[in-house]
Amino acid sequence: MSEKLRLYKPYTPYLYLLPAAMILIPFVFVALVQVFIYSVQHYNIFTPARWAGASNYLALIQDRKFWDALQNTVKYFLGVVPLLVIIPLFIAVLINREWKGINFFRAVFYFPVITSMVVVGIAWKWIYAENGILNYILTDFIPVLGEPVNWLAQGSTALGSVMVVTIWKGLGYYMIIYLAGLQSIPAHLYEAAQIDGAGRIRQLLHITVPMLLPSISIVTIMSSMAAMKVFDEIYVMTGGGPYGSSRTLVFEVYYNAFEKIKIGYSSAIAVVLFFILLIFSWLSLRFSENKYEK
């Protein structure tokens, strides 16, 4: 490693970083600084901004809607991430074989990932409707429910119903990452295990899962980020309702900015969210980078 290092001129690294910097600095860092500035102002777009000090943040602490949204974001995280880490793993194991038609199945499983949220929203609203297919299946076909449930209209089911959509839409994405990980596990490990008489389940637990740990950590990080940033699904499917029971932090950011025209307050929520994510990413980065350095 040391030999090669002297072969690059000192300014070379920065030259290669320049184009990315030209994009990231204005469109991410400057924008972010602006959000920080808004968060200490009273700003409503049409009248000049006024200094607010910490008052947006103080208002935040007393706002039950903020705490509800934070709680919902945590619920979302806890509800979505474990399933998105585990289910795609099994799907990947299932389709990691050279059978006839396997490419077709892979494409089909990937289909939800590539469809836009607007389309997905239309499709799933029809499924969840009181006269929709889910109620039809659960009342007439396999009668587990006495009567149809209006999934998106009940405070107790709305958030969970949207979570299902997030999981459904994410399965294919994480499946591909696992699939790639699986293909890199040397076949001789399984052969050796078979000779030792290890069954399928023991092979899965003792070879597949340990060898896939790096993929599992990537999927964990990526699905956690996605869960904590969730917005589109909520916006399209419930609009945050009923009675705010499905509002998340990003939804609150958007709602305060564009429905209430309180940019300062909205930015304060954004800043809080940013720090939560930053701490989380710092922890996960340390965790995953340690793996790479090994």
């Binding site: 777009i45 049409f46 009248t47 009181e130 209006n150 309702g241 009923p242 009675y243 705010g244 209430k260």
Partner: protein
């Protein structure tokens, strides 16, 4: 080798510069004054009408050019706010009064009492007043719709009701709804309780949710509690679908098209949507006048045309706003749309709004036009309306969906609403 890299970067920057300069040329015209006019989802259906009107205006006013931008229905607010954040608000825009009120509260719109007092008397009083806030009027009325009652004649018949005689009052409507649900198992009636329509529903029922000048909320009343109890009971007995709580009129139309609900109050344009969803249901659709509640009010929804206070050409912009909302243009537009009523007195007397061919589409238009002169906006623009509404809906939905204490829900909401109103 660095050269290649540097060349690439400079090429990239050059490309950026070229494309950027192209854009600037477009936005800074020389010569005539250009005003920007934003509409909500009128293109491509009404391209001919709007472009024609703009051409007529431009030939009458050679010094003014109008640039038309059409924005999707649901995204107007986001687009206007974002555009305004960079100082690029459209000069003239089509908005609903509740959104326009938010802008008016921030002094972002011109006062029409001052700028358009000469045309004030043309419009229906009720529609002009729909844009009044804090002593100012922030927009010119454009098109209207007064809700009419859509009912399913087949379900009426199945329940032994007269399909040619729709209920005229809320009392009759609920009686019919109960009968239909009992006889057919279908929902009798679907109100919309997911947005400000829920507050209108209560006002129609005779409950005054605010004091007379709308500066104080009065949600915590026994009448409110008994209203909620009644609706809760009807939801439990499937007279009203629970979707009423979280879905808008769009779902009401779909469920009506499915034959799942017998009655709902909808806009004139919904007749055409039902036809497109289901010919079967359209053929048994009846239209009645908006049922009158104990409150005695007939509701109207108004679309307006507002002019930005930040417009560099306010005179030209107001001139166009007056032009597009004048009598001749409104009639022409209403006929092109076939589903709206002009906000100009006299226009509703034209044959298009008085003679029906017997189809639900025509009936809806005619009944709606007949209601227009006595109709009023139940809620005039209110300070911080979205906060007030959210607090109210929160309490309403909690009360209808959960078993908690209804009065205490509305007490909380009332306190929140009063804080927002006092701001």
């Amino acid at each position: 080798m660095k050269k290649i890299l540097l060349t690439m970067i400079s090429l990239f920057m050059a490309a950026a510069a070229v494309m950027a300069s192209g854009a600037q040329e477009e936005s800074k015209p020389a010569g005539p004054v250009e005003v920007e006019f934003w509409t909500m989802q009128l293109s491509p259906t009404f391209d001919d009408y709007i472009n024609g009107a703009i051409a007529a205006f431009e030939s009458e006013n050679p010094g003014i050019k109008v640039k038309w931008v059409d924005v999707p229905w649901g995204d107007m607010e986001t687009r206007i706010l974002t555009a305004a954040s960079s100082g690029d608000m459209p000069d003239i825009a089509n908005m609903n009064p509740h959104f326009a009120q938010k802008l008016a509260q921030l002094d972002a719109l011109l006062d029409m009492e001052e700028w358009a007092s000469d045309v004030k008397d043309q419009y229906f009083r009720g529609s002009w007043d729909a844009n009044k806030f804090g002593g100012k009027t922030f927009g010119l009325p454009w098109y209207l719709t007064t809700p009419v009652l859509f009912y399913n004649k087949a379900l009426f018949e199945a329940a032994g009701l007269d399909p040619e005689n729709p209920p005229g009052t809320y009392e009759e409507m609920f009686a019919a709804a109960e009968k239909i649900t009992k006889a057919t198992g279908k929902y009798g009636y679907m109100p919309v309780l997911s947005n400000h329509a829920a507050m209108e529903e209560m006002e129609k029922a005779g409950i005054r949710l605010f004091n007379s000048d709308f500066t104080k909320a009065r949600f915590a009343q026994d009448e409110v509690v008994s209203f909620v109890d009644e609706y809760k009971d009807m939801i439990d007995r499937k007279v009203i679908p629970v979707q009423a709580l979280n879905e808008g009129t769009g779902t009401a139309i779909q469920m009506f098209s499915a034959g799942e609900i017998a009655m709902f109050n909808g806009g004139t344009s919904h007749a055409g949507m039902i036809k497109s969803n289901s010919e079967d249901i359209y053929s048994v659709t009846g239209i009645g006048a908006q049922p009158v509640g104990p409150g005695g009010k007939t509701n109207v929804a108004v679309m307006n045309v507002a002019v930005a206070a930040s417009s560099p050409y306010p005179e030209e912009a107001v001139k166009f706003a007056k032009f597009i909302t004048n009598g001749a243009n409104q009639v022409e537009f209403s006929i092109a749309a076939g589903a709206i009523v002009p906000s100009i007195a006299g226009a509703e007397k034209s044959e298009f709004f008085t003679v029906s061919d017997g189809t639900p589409v025509a009936d809806a238009r005619i009944i709606s036009a007949a209601q227009v002169k006595d109709a009023q906006v139940i809620f005039p623009p209110i300070t911080n309306f979205s906060d007030v509404r959210d607090s109210f809906l929160d309490a309403l939905q909690r009360s209808l969906l959960e078993d908690g204490d209804i009065m205490s829900n509305f007490k909380t909401a009332e306190a929140e609403a009063n804080a927002a109103l006092a701001e």
